[in-house]
């Protein structure tokens, strides 16, 4: 909200400097985002009068003698402009003057003569004709005859003023106006608020043809109309134009300027219809028909739908309610009769229409924040007051008030002072509460610790004692709050629960293993699936889609983690990093059914990614094994198939019989589609693991429990076999384990191939650990198991013992 300091001063007797006002507003909840001094960079430019003038022979220059009153009666200033004349009052920039364009005035030689200053054009002072008539002429800006000699132009032009840009919270739509802020300033300074003049006199004329009908009272709870006539097409007075320009409006004509002025000052968007363009002199407020069209004031044709509320006459639309008027009913030079509109349209509807059509306007911006019915009345009254003051038109007695029937009485609420103090935790004296609430325009009665309050009609945000507590503390001062430390609260047991601390432990362990934790955005692109070679009919393509994504790249919720990980690796390669180990523990989102009817499953995935010259399939497997061991789990592995992983280097990971994920090398086709230098691509091997952490976390130990050692001795035996190359280690180990229940652990300790062994053979050596819960494992028992193992390997794989 942009507010002029001088405008505020009209309604409150502000006796503090702008800087202090900024702090005061801040302390009561209105953050001032910027304060702009309008006269910034306009210094030592004063009103002067040309007392004599002669042409500088042989040049285009005029030699002027300028009287600047008490700033010196005879300044010698040369100018190239040809619109100056003796007796003209002009802005004279004296030595040392500063101009907004950055110019600093110094004595200057022009041809062969010194000039001690500069006469200024409007442009050099960054002024337009609405700020000062004639500012736009090509040449020096000629000032009015009554301009006081020697006066700083800054003062003469009323630029000694400050523009506050104030941020207004959503609960205070009433403060989207000069008077709203003025009331807050008045309360903060404990000064009276002087309301703007809203009086006007109706002349008794009645236009019996006019009718106003609201068909959608829900969306338009109140619609005021007033008929004025004998409209003069004229400019607004300078003071009004300047205020409008300063806060960012253009000056157009008096009638339109009044509506804008009321919007800024009172916070009520107004509209003025040229009555002659309204068929049947009628206003009908209704929803648009599907496909109905309207050309708005910005000369664009809008295609509408029933969500859009329209202002119409008997046959056609003449305005988009709360957003913008129609071109067909705008005020023109020929306009003689005007119907003023001051209405309340629901913020939701205005927002949807404005956003839906991509049509922003000051009115819409204001309506979106919410208008109260009191402001609707004030707006109309102030507009008519200005019509009268400015003499723009005659004010008839044709006044219309179509209301949804909401009460125009002030709401009464009762609040116990003790409750207020309970919320705050400090005791605010009752008389102080009364003073504060009075200052905020509440009517207050205090009886026996109960405040009976008549709430100002524009304060729709006030309902409960909590709201009142806030009003009181923001005026009383947050610095009066005395920090306490939950003195009355019960002691509670805090900290991470078992699963949460386990998760942190998992992360910290991976860090210790050399992995960096990453965090990536949970949204991704559908094209990821193509890049990752996911088949058209795969489950992964059933995704949760955003209805309103920012970009296609972030339009779906991910169902696999690998693409996010691979993109991070890709970026790191591009940035010149060579060795990388990353992990991310984050959700994928799996819809239970599509279209989505209930929240999807959020499944936590532990994703690992590695890349670098020292990385291969087995280094990643080492990490998984170490990770399993750290959690006292055992993982087993089977050859797996994943669309984006190398068909020969992919394993499914199992734990306690459940498949918990997969890992392997990223397919070369995927690497090939990455945006990394061509030369590097061929050598780039990326390894990815995706572990279902939601499932895995259910497999962690519930609690640590000590089991006494059996005390029985185990036994061990090594076996070395010649076996077909095709037999995988895991298969052989499973076969060995199946031989006898005394076998507790089988580990491969040697494997090799050689010409001597034969092209399709290899040698594998295993260490077999045996143990029993009931007795020592003797050498005889071990021999028997060993025989079984030899037999099994021979039977199943044709393996031969090696000696």
């Amino acid at each position: 909200m942009k507010v002029l300091y001088s405008w505020l001063k009209e309604y409150v007797d502000i006796d503090i400097q702008p800087k202090e006002l900024e702090e005061k507003l801040f302390s009561v909840g209105f953050e001032v985002e910027a304060v702009e001094y309008l006269g910034e960079n306009l210094e030592n430019v004063v009103v002067g009068q040309i007392t004599s003038m002669e042409h500088y022979e042989g040049t285009h220059l005029q030699i002027c003698h300028v009287d600047c009153g008490d700033k010196g009666h005879d300044h010698l200033i040369l100018t190239g402009a040809d619109n100056v004349f003796v007796g003209a009052k002009v802005p004279a920039a004296l030595i040392g003057a500063k101009l907004p364009c950055g110019l600093e005035i110094q004595p200057r030689k022009m041809v062969d003569m010194m000039s001690y200053g500069m006469l200024c054009s409007g442009e050099e002072m960054e002024l337009n004709k609405d700020w000062y008539p004639g500012a736009d002429v090509n040449g020096i800006m000629i000032l009015a005859e009554d301009a006081p000699l020697g006066m700083e132009m800054r003062d003469y032009l009323e630029l000694d003023d400050y523009l506050f840009d104030i941020s207004i919270t959503a609960n205070r739509p009433d403060c989207q106006s000069v008077i709203g802020i003025a009331k807050e300033v008045a309360a903060a300074l404990r000064k009276p608020f002087k309301a703007p003049d809203m009086s006007y006199t109706e002349d008794g004329t009645v236009n019996g043809d006019i009718s106003i009908e609201v068909l959608d009272k829900e969306t338009c709870p109140r619609y005021l109309g007033h008929y004025v006539y004998d409209v003069k097409y004229m400019e607004s007075p300078l003071w009004m134009k300047r205020r409008l320009i300063a806060v960012g409006h253009n000056a157009i004509n008096a009638m339109v300027d009044i509506t804008n002025y009321v919007l800024v000052e009172i916070g009520q968007p107004m509209h003025a219809f040229d009555l002659s363009t309204l068929e049947g002199s009628s206003i009908v407020v209704r929803r648009a028909e599907e496909g109905e069209e309207l050309v708005t004031l910005d000369e664009k044709n809008r295609v509408l739908n029933p969500n859009n509320l329209l202002i119409c006459d008997k046959v056609k639309a003449v305005g988009l309610a709360g957003v913008m008027g129609g071109l067909n009913s705008e005020i023109k030079e020929s306009t003689v009769e005007v119907l003023f509109e001051s209405a309340k349209f629901l913020k939701d509807n205005v927002r949807k229409t404005s956003r839906g059509l991509g049509l922003r306007s000051d009115a819409a911006a204001r309506f979106e924040k919410g208008i109260d019915e009191y402001t609707v009345e004030c707006g109309m009254a102030r507009a008519l007051n200005l019509v009268e003051t400015l003499g723009v038109a005659k004010i008839s007695s044709s006044h219309f008030d179509v209301s949804g029937g909401a009460s125009t009485e002030k709401r009464i609420i009762q609040v116990e002072t003790a409750k207020v103090n309970d919320v705050l935790g400090i005791v605010v004296p009752e008389e102080e509460m009364v003073k504060i609430l009075n200052a905020l325009q509440f009517y207050v009665e205090l009886n026996d610790g109960v405040l009976t309050l008549a709430v100002p009609r524009y304060r729709e945000d006030i309902e409960t004692y909590q709201d009142i507590a806030e009003e009181i503390i923001r005026e009383y001062g947050y610095d009066k709050v005395v920090p306490t430390f939950l003195d009355d609260a019960k002691v509670t047991n805090g900290g991470l629960n078992k699963y949460q601390s386990k998760e942190l432990g998992v992360k910290e362990y991976l860090c210790a293993q050399g992995y960096y934790e990453i965090q990536t955005i949970a949204m991704t692109a559908k094209t990821d699936f193509d890049m990752f070679l996911i088949p058209e009919d795969a489950k992964e393509r059933e995704v949760v889609e955003l209805l309103n994504p920012i970009t296609e790249n972030l339009s779906i919720m991910r169902t696999i983690m690998a693409p996010s990980m691979v993109k991070v690796i890709e970026n790191n390669i591009k940035n010149g990093n060579e060795e990388m180990h990353f992990f991310e523990l984050a959700n994928i989102y799996l819809p239970k059914a599509l279209p989505l009817t209930e929240p999807p499953v959020e499944k936590k995935i532990l994703c690992l990614g590695t890349c670098g010259v020292n990385e291969d399939f087995f280094t990643l497997k080492e990490t998984l094994e170490a990770f399993a061991s750290n959690n006292d789990l055992e993982f087993s592995y089977k050859r797996g198939e994943v669309p984006y992983l190398h068909p020969g280097r992919t394993a499914d990971v199992y734990c306690k019989g459940e498949k918990i994920g997969h890992f392997g090398q990223l397919r070369y086709e995927v690497v090939d589609s990455l945006n990394i230098a061509g030369g590097k691509k061929a050598d780039t091997k990326i390894f990815i693991a995706e572990i279902d952490y939601s499932t895995l976390s259910g497999l962690f130990k519930e609690a640590i429990k000590y089991v006494p050692e059996t005390g029985f001795k185990g036994n061990a035996r090594d076996i070395s076999v010649l076996i077909d190359k095709a037999v995988e280690c895991g298969t052989a180990i499973d076969a060995i384990k199946a031989c006898d229940e005394l076998i507790k652990k089988v580990s491969l300790f040697d494997i090799f191939e050689s010409e001597k062994l034969g092209a399709d053979k290899k040698s594998m050596a295993f260490n077999i650990q045996l143990a029993s819960a009931t007795c020592d494992v003797t050498d005889e028992m071990t021999d028997k198991v060993f025989e079984k193992v030899v037999a099994a390997l021979s039977e199943q794989f044709g393996a031969q013992m090696r000696v």
């Binding site: 009561v28 909840g29 919270t169 959503a170 609960n171 913020k347 927002r351 309970d422 919320v423 705050l424 935790g425 400090i426 409960t464 909590q466 709201d467 806030e470 503390i473 947050y478 709050v481 005395v482 920090p483 306490t484 430390f485 939950l486 009355d488 609260a489 019960k490 509670t492 047991n493 805090g494 900290g495 991470l496 942190l504 910290e508 991976l510 860090c511 210790a512 293993q513 050399g514 992995y515 960096y516 934790e517 990453i518 965090q519 990536t520 955005i521 949970a522 949204m523 955003l546 209805l547 972030l554 919720m557 970026n571 790191n572 990093n577 990353f582 989102y589 209930e598 929240p599 959020e602």
Partner: protein
Amino acid sequence: MSMETIKTECQAELNLVEDAKQLADFWTKYLSKTGEVQKLMGGIKNVPKEEKKAYGQAVNEIKTWVQALYDAKKEEVDKKAMLARYDAETVDVTLPVKHTEAGNLHPLTCIKNEIIDVFAGMGFEIFEGPEIEDDDHNFTRLNVLKDHPSRDMQDTFWLTEDLLLRTHTSPGQIRVMDTEKPPIKVLVPGKVFRSDSDATHSPMFSQMEGLVVDEHITLCDLQGMLDQFVKALFSDEAKTRLRPSYFPFTEPSVEVDVSCFKCGGKGCSLCKGTGWIEVLGGGIVNNKVLENCNIDSSKYSGLAFGIGIERIAMLKYGINHMGKLFENDIEFLKQFKA
């Protein structure tokens, strides 16, 4: 050898012993079962009966004397050998070794953990709710009514008319109050999503919601607790300042500023000359929210606050662009080792 010879030779020989081998030879020559001392002992049978006692005593004295000499020498030799071994085994301690370079947690996790540590000590439990929420939890029951601007498509990522990506961790308040009764002290960390993307905004970011519900919870408690928090997170000198703000789910609502930890409040570029930095928002839980969760607002009151993790991380570590946090470049990440 006579006793006298032993006495003189023994001493002379031992003086020449330098290593374990020579010492062993000495032992064999004098102290073993076939050694000179034993031989003397064996000579007792040739000694007249009445001298046997004196002879025995003399031999024993010799034996003890030789043994003592031997023991002393052994200690000397052993020590010398040990020194020689150490000398031989000395390594170049500055030689490099192969080891795993440790990784580290993401800066956002570090900050999250730090905050959790502070509040865990105050008795806060940690609750994690779903990232995909419904209108009811994310808005309606938090008193964000149907026509509130923050519901707008501009801010919220919608999935259906009802489902959405949570825009804040505040729905965690509702989920906790639905299942737990006061006293409640809970933190809700998590990812949140908003339709926003620039230097200080990311469409996904992290928040930490705090909620206390008990009897007689006041605004003073909120400030007192947050004072402790900023002291723990920033510095012992850090102070907080409350100023009015607005959130639909708290009333009164406040913005909480922390005294600038760079300049100590004097005013600098970080605090834009104000001496204060905005770090979080909070307030007294709106009674409507308590009632929406069937908590008796005439008996209980609550305080709530929401912390933006990225903002704290950026402030604390001096990170200037939020995008850095999600780029995950190793050179960036490795700077956050604790």
